[in-house]
Amino acid sequence: MASGAARAEWIADAGTGVVYDSNVSLAQSRSDIKHDALVFAEASGGQFVQLTDRLSGTLTGRVRKELYSRYTGLSNLSAGLSAAARWKFGLGAGAPWARLGGSATRLDYRNNLRSGWLYETALSTGIRAFDRWELDAGYRREHRSADQDMSLDPDISAAVFSQHASSEWLGARFELTQSLYPFVRYTRRSGDITATTQPNLPIYQVSSAVAFDPVFGTGAIAYKLHATTHIFAAGLTQAVGAHASINLSIERRISHGDSDINYYGTAYEAQLLYEF
């Protein structure tokens, strides 16, 4: 007997990987630039429900652990909840879709300065086109609220990791073979960033928040300023059977901050994903 009643479906995935980042301190001068590698493991699980022929909803929880090799204060555990609704505009794999999602994530760093909450909302859309292409675009807003505000100066905030930002992105994934998918993605992020430097008066003057940052050594200063960051990413997804994939990517970040303060960094990532 057929039934049209909504039925929730359990969804879960897990992943692990390594990342090398050429500029974890997001620094400008060569002496301030610190590189490091991290390993991570993450898992998520939740419920997916197809509400109507076109509309589905997802409620998931996610945990992620990151362990840094040199700058251990960056090691962290994050856990969050996310909800999303997805609408498919038609029938078939080529029908376009739109997705609206939001999440709240608790960030617990070994260095408490960075601990806090991250709230994100995103609206994205995509389509499978020309047989081999999957295209997507989206807009995201993020708000990060730091737990601590240990001010150095009563006139200036020390909440360097309380940030607001928005991002737009364009992505494309190409089906090279039945299991190999190169992809590219461009993201433009506009908003607060937090960088680290040795005491530096010109930077201090353009910062909206400043705090000591012991993660990068005694006397290191973390500071917040507004910047536009261009992120160019490219990579490969190799499907391994129906439930797993190996993902390799490279990401180049170029940040242009206020007062012509610029940052550059490159991250390399290898990740193994499994979907249950």
Partner: protein
């Protein structure tokens, strides 16, 4: 596409005929065989790709050249198990109907936009109360509108004499009445027209007739099921 014909094993009445000599000789043999009374033989097909690997899920069909193909429509089943259609390729006789039971503990939305049978079974669990009638010959591509990687094919045939190749590339059509046949093959990844695969053969009153094809295949492009970094899949 290459095709070749193997000699019949000992005891086989007719091994099949070379295309150029085929019509007259096969006709003569078939007439002689038919005169001895209609009995059933077996057609054994072997399907390989151009690298020599066995090809599974190829539909082998035998269309009688003399008389009507006969056969009665049937009621068939294509399951949905672990978010996949089972089987992947299903040949049926035109006029047959197919039921699409959903064995998963979630809902599927089965559809086809193929000219031979466009239809939709919107979002359901369990087994739909009515089966889908396939009353036109042709290939019908199935999909699920929730799980985009799910795909399957119904081959609606005008003959009841068909089989699907197994893992080893072999297909077997049993109980084939003696006579002349146009045999052909279809596969979802085949790069040539089905009509170009036709071979004429004659089968005897019993025994086995062998036929083989070598196919050039092109992988089907469809959404992946495996997860990808930064993507949400169907969620």
């Amino acid at each position: 596409m290459n095709s070749e014909r193997r000699g019949a094993p000992a005891g086989s009445a007719v091994a099949g005929c070379a295309p150029l000599r085929g019509a007259l000789l096969c006709g003569l043999l078939a007439t002689l065989l038919a005169a001895g009374g209609a009995r059933a033989a077996t057609l054994l097909a072997a399907v390989r790709d151009d690298s020599g690997r066995p090809v599974r899920d190829a539909v082998v069909l035998a269309m009688p050249l003399d008389g009507s193909p006969g056969g009665k429509p049937t009621r068939e089943i294509i399951d949905q198990i672990d978010k996949e259609f089972v089987p992947y390729v299903k040949p049926i006789l035109v006029g047959s109907s197919v039921s699409f039971p959903n064995r998963d503990k979630l809902r599927h939305h089965v559809y086809s936009v193929s000219p031979a049978k466009p239809f939709e079974l919107p979002l359901y669990a369990g087994t739909p109360s009515s089966a889908v009638l396939f009353d036109k010959p042709g290939v019908v591509t199935l999909g699920c509108n929730i799980h985009d990687w799910m795909i399957a094919y119904v081959y609606v045939a005008e003959t009841p004499h068909f089989a699907v190749s197994a893992h080893d590339g072999s297909a077997r059509i049993a109980n084939l009445p003696s006579g002349r046949y146009a045999v052909r093959i279809w596969h979802p990844e085949m790069t040539v027209a089905e009509s170009s695969t036709v071979q004429q053969i004659a089968v005897g009153r019993d025994g086995e007739t062998q036929v083989s094809w070598t196919l050039k295949l092109t992988p089907i492009l469809r959404p992946r099921r495996a997860p990808a970094a930064g993507a949400h899949g169907y969620h």
